[in-house]
Subunit: 526 residues, 2 copies
């Protein structure tokens, strides 16, 4: 597939006269061809208008039609697996096996949503039949189901160039719900984005849909994103990235003449509570697993464990020593961009000025501006509690050990937490049973509670919640991973007194789709 | 029950030293005793802290326990039916039969939510069992369910002093979800509010709950509301009222350090499309029904039909003449407050300066500052389309007839609409079938589509949607009437790798609650 560097405005390609930029190989610092061209305001307008036009027909397609479309995109990803992973490897320095796996995950997500909309129960159909004989007044027939919101803007994420980017979970769930999508490509992997967008655009054409179902714009700066999020025809926004950028988007969405739902997944310390039983078992192995988790993807996972609370038990020293040794001898990492690497070094140095940096890997042989070395911090509990900034995420391969005295420290720490994506408890069942209060408090703070696992490696399933109270996300009522992600892009619409012939099939008396519904509030057939 | 005029801070009563105010009888203009006292900042703080403390235990109560609580409140309302309605009649001038009915509706809503949480399936439990043999890596056990958000602030609405006020649908659904509630009482019916709050506080005590489960504050101005919505411990807000006030609350919620969900139900023109078949049947009867709908509750319903599109057919003249006659001879109305009456007269006069006021009732014998007379406006279609302000709601007994030439006008009008709570189509099935495009466009604009009915008289059922795109509400993904209203106050929480003994019962393998769940995305047992 030949790369041209132009935006996709439905079936057309954008101009080549906007500000240009190139991808950079984080391993070498070398610039990659081709040149990429920023979309201009007229092109943003064109993408929004196309999406709005497409919504009229695309929103009326049925689940089977949308499932075929999503599977066609998945087929395209699988057919171009090697090409996608290779370009992503050049642009992100993430290892090839991980990227090949990410292509598979991206296709798998598309197929999961295809299954969900083909089966059809996701629309939460409810039927309250008419009660013509009710006293003092009859009741009309009332039925409702979920319908798509309208055009959705998706911001590609830097850290998953496939699974959370152009055709990632945000795009897949919005398309599944019946919403056209406009992607703002992440400038750190424009080539990967162009390859992915071509597969989407081809699938739109092959299905015979209105071309406005999918567009993608490039931008060297932030203007295209701002123009999209404030465009009157845009109805929702999805984003994964930093707290600062995410909050800016939230504020723009909330300040619109007509505010719109804005889903930003931003910042999380993913606290880990090591209970005594976990240290009694195999403290060195625990340190190895934790090291693997906080350095996975060079520590650039949303769910990286960044805060680890360790009790003062005899085995804690073994755990500490092993972790220090692992960090000391860690290989250097190439982060996604020079900007991320610079911010990592800055934030880590600022933290090291506040609290002990107990281990840092050598970084002598690193030349690229994207290079970074693993770091391990340690702080006593009371200082942690007195310094709220220590709970802030530092994106990159580092973590903070908090030395605690007793279980009561854990409860106080949990109470002091803001929102996070996850909280993890490591220990035996006795530990858990002895910490019910801790669990109840953590439940108020996070979207996912993990027992004896690590938060990295988010499964794409039906029960997954990748969300949590602010600042983890903008809205704790939704998830950006797993099949429930579709609920971000739909809203209930009620039909009162409609004849069968004018109702959507999901609401017909005969339930021709065979979906799970509620009838007068009870599961149908029950 | 003796009225004292003090706020309820859990089980305690507030001070009597804040700014004071009295209710006013809209019929007579007479002030009603007792004096009501504004809550001071320390009392707001107390209410928020109590609610936050109460959340720890109240959020862990089970559905049966909360159902008993909600039914106890309903019992209290029914036992004090006459007393509640009589005080509400004095404070609102709404007729006694309507208010006695509203007590019943309030109790009915509480019982509906009791049934929902006792049955238990509302938590949307999902179970994705572990796959220990999966390649290349095993999958952990992943389960999720809805859990309550935290303390909720409810603003009482002026136009339903019982069903959308202290113990109305917002409070009932938040308590059902497991959230403590702090009500900001509407100053137009403080006595009704105090009676209702006493019933709630007594029910909290009788169930042995933490007293912070319910508080209610009075305020002569807007400071208490602002302090509540910006309080760090408050997790969500529900409001029904004007666009201006609602938008202010939205902006305050969005500007917080930690933004929170804010549900405001604000403004709706509730457009009615009269299709040719409806006029062919009984044009005079149609006029009578429409008149009944837009003057119901003195035109102070959220769903009042404020925009009526009428085709140019031979029977239209009969419809127009009958409607003019009905408005001309309408009795004067007493609106809820002098402020509402003043704003009604101001807005109606401004509109009359723009377009023809074709009928207005006599108001000669009205003395109260709350008095208002019915009004009927008429505008040609092209002028309607060219004047967006004509789609704005004027709260009170009036409506606007838009004279259209043909069905294409209807499509253009629908396309031009902002968000509304409802849209209504009147006609025969042939009309509907000939207007599929109109239906598809309207579906994008409203929460509820009505065929051959009127939008006033919102049923409290499981399929009801009382919501819609901005400016009808702040968030089109939710409803403030019907059992789905509970979903505003809950969020999914995921448990990964948890032993059975530490999981909530809704997620146990054996499904001890017998609720509808998804297992690997499929209805359990299917």
């Amino acid at each position: 597939m030949k790369l041209t560097g132009q935006s996709f405005l439905g079936a057309e390609r954008g101009s080549r006269d906007g500000a240009s930029f190139k991808a950079v190989n984080p391993h070498t610092g070398e610039e990659l061809l081709p040149l990429y061209f920023s979309a201009n305001p007229a092109e943003i307008e064109q993408a929004a208008k196309l999406a709005n036009e497409a919504f009229n027909s695309y929103s009326q397609t049925n689940g089977k039609t949308r499932a075929a479309f999503l599977r066609r995109i998945a087929d395209g990803f699988e057919a171009h697996r090697q090409e996608l992973a290779e370009r992503a490897h050049l642009e992100t320095a993430l290892p090839m096996p991980r990227l090949l796996g990410e292509v598979g995950r991206t296709a798998g997500q598309l197929r999961m949503f295809a299954d969900v909309v083909e089966e059809g129960s996701w629309v939460q159909a409810r039927v309250d039949p008419a009660l013509p004989d009710r006293q003092p007044l009859p009741r009309a027939d009332i039925r409702s189901m979920l319908r798509p919101l309208g055009p959705v803007v998706v911001f590609g994420a830097s850290n998953f160039p496939l699974a959370f980017s152009v055709a990632g979970c945000d795009t897949a769930s919005a398309l599944a719900a019946g919403c056209p999508v406009i992607v703002k490509a992440h400038p750190a992997h424009p080539g990967t984005s162009e390859l992915a967008a071509r597969l989407l655009v081809d699938a739109v054409a092959a299905e015979g849909f209105h071309p406005g179902v999918f567009s993608m714009v490039f931008d060297a700066g932030v203007e295209a994103g701002k123009a999209l999020i404030t465009h009157p025809l845009v109805r929702a926004v999805a984003f994964t990235g930093s707290l600062r950028a995410g909050r800016t988007l939230m504020d723009l969405a909330a300040a619109r003449q007509n505010p719109i739902p804005c889903f930003t997944e931003m910042s999380s310390g993913n606290p880990v509570f090591i209970l005594p039983g976990a240290l009694r078992r195999e403290p060195a192995a625990l340190a190895q697993s934790l090291f693997g988790s906080f350095t996975l993807g060079a520590g650039q996972f949303c769910t990286k464990p960044g805060i680890v609370l360790v009790p003062d038990t005899p085995e804690a020293a073994i755990f500490f020593d092993e972790l220090r040794a692992l960090v000391d001898k860690a290989q250097p990492f190439a982060l996604l961009t020079a900007g991320i690497a610079h911010e990592y070094t800055r934030a880590a140095s600022a933290r090291a000025a506040q609290i002990p940096l107990v281990a840092q890997a050598h970084a002598a042989d690193i030349s690229s501006a994207c290079a970074a070395s693993a770091r391990l911090f340690n702080v006593p509990f009371e200082q942690f509690l007195a310094t709220p900034a220590l709970a802030d995420e530092i994106f990159g391969p580092n973590t903070l050990l908090v030395s605690c005295d007793n279980a009561q420290d854990f409860v106080r720490a949990a109470t002091s937490l803001d929102g996070h994506l996850t909280a993890t408890l490591l220990g035996d069942e006795e530990d858990l049973a002895a910490n019910r209060e801790l669990i109840q408090i953590l439940e108020q703070k996070v979207g996912r509670l993990i027992f004896n696992g690590f938060p990295t490696g988010v499964e794409v399933t039906h029960a997954m919640v990748h969300g949590g109270p602010y600042p983890a996300t903008s809205d704790p009522r939704f998830t950006s991973v797993g099949s429930m992600a579709i609920y971000r892009f739909a809203r209930p619409v009620c039909f009162q007194g409609f004849p069968q012939s004018l109702l959507p099939p999901a609401l017909h008396d005969s339930n021709p789709l065979g979906i799970a519904r509620l009838r007068d509030g009870k599961p149908e057939g029950a």
